[in-house]
Point group: C2
Chain length 212, copies 2
């Protein structure tokens, strides 16, 4: 999942680790806590070894300063490669069971702007199915096994059941929107129209400038 998220973010702009973590936190804040450096840096290393990202020079090519003085450990800026973009497209399109669990779905959803509509629909429906099954499991427990459980456990199940029902309704709305060709609830300029033009970057308009 981290791999997918990193490749997705680096398509918007090259970044160094610290910045990546902040952007990740902002983008995925709804579904998971801040990513750990103990996951991030090893993953960056792995992606680099696989050739999906490369180090980009932090300072421009003007070799005016060669800091031998303080051995300044500069930031390491990563950018995505062509192979990395292919890898991202591959990861975003394929859907296994892990695509529908909480974290997996969240990450996929966060990059729906870079996902074609057919895949979006498939993922939303798979997620709905997953949550419906969880909901049925909770209903079973609340119905059949209620007397075996204490009041607190039951209350936990009830709260979980409520969350499931709510999410199913949310997914229904999103699915209806997808089918009608609209963007998510609040319409977005630019995504409508067009053919199967996947991978059209959203209107980021951001130029992340590095100021050393």
């Amino acid at each position: 999942m981290l791999e997918l998220a990193i490749l997705g973010l680096l398509q918007e702009s090259p970044m160094h680790g610290y910045e990546l973590r902040k952007e990740l936190t902002a983008k995925l804040g709804a579904i998971r806590a801040a990513i750990s450096y103990g996951s991030l840096y090893p993953t960056l290393r792995r992606l680099q070894a696989a050739g999906w990202i490369t180090e980009a020079a932090e300072t421009p090519a003007t070799a005016e300063e060669v800091p031998a003085l303080t051995s300044r450990r500069g930031r390491v800026v990563y950018k995505i490669t062509a192979e990395g973009k292919e890898r991202f497209a591959e990861l975003i399109a394929q859907a296994g069971p892990e695509t529908y669990d909480d974290t997996g779905f969240g990450v996929h959803f966060a990059f729906f702007a870079r996902t074609d509509q057919a895949t979006r629909l498939r993922i939303l429906e798979g997620r709905r199915r997953t949550i419906e099954e969880r909901r049925e499991g909770l209903r079973d427990v609340l119905g059949r096994a209620a007397e075996r459980l204490d009041a607190y456990t039951l209350e936990l199940q009830r709260h979980g059941l409520d969350a499931c029902e709510r999410e199913v309704r949310w997914l229904e709305e999103l699915i209806a929107n997808e089918r009608s060709g609209r963007a998510p609830t609040v319409p977005q300029p630019g995504t409508a129209g067009g053919r199967r033009d996947n991978n059209s970057p959203p209107p980021p308009g951001e130029s992340r400038t590095e100021r050393p």
Copy 2:
């Protein structure tokens, strides 16, 4: 977290691994997917090595009502030890940051029937604080950084924000209930007892430390 859940369940009844997993799934179904055997068996081993659980004989000498018609071999039944009960009490009472994340809070909550009221209140308030902070983070992103994010990501944040607000309200109710001395929201019909004899969880040892 697994350690806590296993010790908690084994206090209700001795069980073997497979059964433990099923009970775990039933009790924690609202907060996490089924536990993996790749976690369960090594953890059982660890708990046994620490002296908190022991292997119990599958077929006791006193065959009260169920004679060993089918001599099942190979099952390893675990039961909790006195040290294990102490360990459980220790784990249930101490609250670190991991007590307030989704999984940690869920597991603690699932064993609230074995937790004293002061601790319950402390955990509920800590969880509320955590969710309030998450909520503020989402509001920040939706307010300050909205233009940097695409419509899908924003929709994800909105859904997450809604879930946070809902959970805070739920927690408020539970906290009010705790302070008023009542059980969780639905007062629980008579604990007339289930089909299993040894499943009598109730004695939480309520101290009447009420706070105005």
